[in-house]
Amino acid sequence: AQTVTQSQPEMSVQEAETVTLSCTYDTSESDYYLFWYKQPPSRQMILVIRQEAYKQQNATENRFSVNFQKAAKSFSLKISDSQLGDAAMYFCAYRTTSRANSKLTFGKGITLSVRP
């Protein structure tokens, strides 16, 4: 079974600075998908970024980018120019390409606070 580990429960960043959130995972599969979801106090789960394992290029979405290290099974999220609205809980998630087991496996999440 796949597992996702987010070892840092909390992080803090100064507004306008850059922060990196860590995530590691364990799988025996060679093809899969990885995601970062954001959960602000409103409780809504919002997709931040996705990465296909077969792609070597790291995904980027505006101020958000990932560092995907397939051999190391590492998938970190970098937030540049942090804004107050980035304060939220962030979840790393794994999804197999197997259609029989189509679900997201989440890490425990990390709470990010942004200092003004």
Binding site: Y37, Q44, M45, S102, L104, G109
Partner: protein, 113 residues
């Protein structure tokens, strides 16, 4: 238009009661899910339906029964509610074959007193 909507957003009920949470998606997705987020914010899959067929059932007590009348709707019925059932329940949907990301509803906070 809300892509994945679930009702109610909040539900407070007494132990022993039976309650239902409804979910609807207008994205045309063929797969729907129920996730449970516990008090420590941990998210775990409960059920998954593809075109009204149950494909994932993760060690959930029999008191929880999902029902999918069509591929746009997935409801969750809970019998004999217990204190430990208090959590946030999320409905989500996606395309199974495309293996894309899941879109989530706004969650239902269930409090059992």
């Amino acid at each position: 238009d809300t892509a994945v909507s679930q009702t109610p957003k909040y539900l407070v009920t007494q132990m022993g009661n039976d309650k239902s949470i409804k979910c609807e998606q207008n994205l045309g997705h063929d797969t729907m899910y129920w996730y449970k987020q516990d008090s420590k914010k941990f998210l775990k899959i409960m059920f998954s339906y593809n075109n009204k067929e149950l494909i994932i059932n993760e060690t959930v007590p029999n008191r929880f029964s999902p029902k999918s009348p069509d591929k746009a709707h997935l409801n969750l019925h809970i019998n004999s509610l217990e204190l430990g059932d208090s959590a946030v329940y999320f409905c989500a949907s996606s395309y199974r074959q495309l293996n894309t990301e899941a879109f989530f509803g706004q969650g239902t906070r269930l409090t059992v007193v």
